[in-house]
């Protein structure tokens, strides 16, 4: 099946939910409303034509300059029978970061959604056990958001000025440390 045929097939059911579509580097990418995620994933999983019964990957994104749709979710599905790959994206405002969990359809999503929650703070409605997974439990921020620098922001012993990065200002440095 070509990407166009797949798209047309999905459109028969979700015509108004598809906001945009594209084909970057050959993979069909559909941007949808986040409310439509669960029914759409269920459709492409159970549909007899597509049979996308394998979830390859999911991950979060943060676009600080897209006002009102700062946070994004990217899902990739694979129909192995016909080798169909579909990428589904949803965007959401950063002050209302929630989306339906797809753990009811794919158990593989469990840890991946936990990872996304851990790093981006996206809350998955219906997730059985939404806790941090790779970072420590008492961490109070979501480190992959773009406003956080590479070094741990809570540490005071690593001053960027000593590493020649942001805030490097020779004059200020001299005044403060040479007395």
């Amino acid at each position: 099946m070509t990407n166009q045929e797949v798209l047309d097939h999905v459109r028969t059911k979700f015509a108004d939910q598809i906001l945009e579509f594209d084909e970057p580097y050959g993979m069909l990418t559909i941007i949808i409303n986040r409310d439509a995620l669960l029914p759409m994933v269920e459709f492409i999983k159970t549909d007899e034509v597509l049979q996308c019964n394998f979830m390859t990957d999911l991950c979060g994104m943060h676009h600080p300059d897209q006002l009102g749709r700062e946070l994004g979710m990217v899902y990739m599905f694979h129909g192995m029978r016909k080798n169909i790959r579909i990428r589904i994206k949803c965007f959401m405002p950063i002050d209302d970061p929630h989306i339906d969990s797809i753990t009811s359809l794919f158990k593989a999503a469990n840890w991946m959604e936990r990872e996304t929650f851990d790093f981006y703070g996206i809350k998955f409605k219906g997730h059985p056990d939404l806790r941090r997974i790779l970072n420590m439990d008492d961490m109070d921020y979501h480190p992959m958001l773009k406003q956080y620098k590479l070094e741990d922001g809570t540490r005071t012993d690593k001053d960027d000025r000593f590493f020649g990065r942001d805030g490097h200002d020779g004059v200020e440095f001299d005044q403060r440390y040479i007395k």
Partner: protein, 399 residues
Amino acid sequence: MSTEPLEIDTLEGEFSTLNLGPTHPATHGIFQNILTMNGERIYHSEQTVGYIHRAFEKIAEHRPFNQITPLTDRLNYCSSPINNLGWHMTVEKLIGCTVPKRVDYMRVIIMELARIADHLVCNTVIAVDTGALTGFTYMFQEREKIYELYEEVCGARLTTNIGRIGGFERDFSPAFHQKLKKFLAEFPKKFQEFCDLTERNRVFMDRVINACPFDAERCLNYGFTGPNLRAAGVDYDVRVMNPYSSYQDFDFIIPVGISGDTYDRYIVRQKEIWESVKIINQAYNNLPEGDYHADVPEFYLPPKDDVYNNMEALIYHFKIVMGEMDVPKGEVYHSVEGGNGELGYYLVSDGGRKPFRLHFRRPCFIYYQAYPEMIKGCLLSDAVVTLSSLNVIAGELDA
């Protein structure tokens, strides 16, 4: 002796808690399993991961493309070259660079050597966990030879950082040719000894047959890929379904199992080692003539001699080392068949010098979450061999 998993409802009596990990000889890595046991039976288990989380995805957002290769080394450190070359291919896909056929074949040789090394670690360790230490020590001599081959190509052994975006830094050296020929001549005989030791060994078979089987439907639902999925009978292999690096040129089969138990996972890996030997032989005997790198001066570091004597090369050298290469905007997903399954790179570029977002699809992280369901109701000794046969690599698990 392995036994059928019991229905949990039939378990009665007192429960005890056992920590399998974080540093336990059976985990072969740093991750914790808290088991609730009834005698020898596992009633419930809970996992803690993240002990060696190093924030590679965050670091990658602050590094130019060629400096991300060393990060990929540390994902599945049993087969670093596959990770490195997979990343190079992802960037090549993004910048639209086609590499010469010779590079493809060279890559195939390196990647299949890495697959052999990866599977050797996994399978010999299953044998160790069932009490057969001898095979492990003998096969690690062969693994050492593979590491020597890496050394001839890139100078490193474990964290290889092999190749470059666009190809290899140098052609295969005469010593590499010599060592590879010797390896291809001797390895099958040595490996056959290991096969004879375990594959039809009654003690070994009793121990692993029917240990924690996992059927195809559940495997797919849990996102299994690679040998663990194929052991359940699904013939999904990225090398065949979405061929990269000219894999379509080679003649090999995808071994599959039936029940997805530990023995099937073991045998699938054993057979894959033979297929890898077959692929290396084909690639090496048909190694095309040509250049060992693509013509992408913006990304491929020029020879040192040119840097000193050629203005253009000096400029490119400076730009690459300082990470000032221009890349197109776009998002690309590329996957390779890693040692443990589909190793994917989802790269989003905003045209800057660094990736806007880079996500690694790490097969270990995805399938390890099925472990509690696999071992529920099983004996502790079965859980240990199952953990080995899943080949959970902590580096790939935690990224």
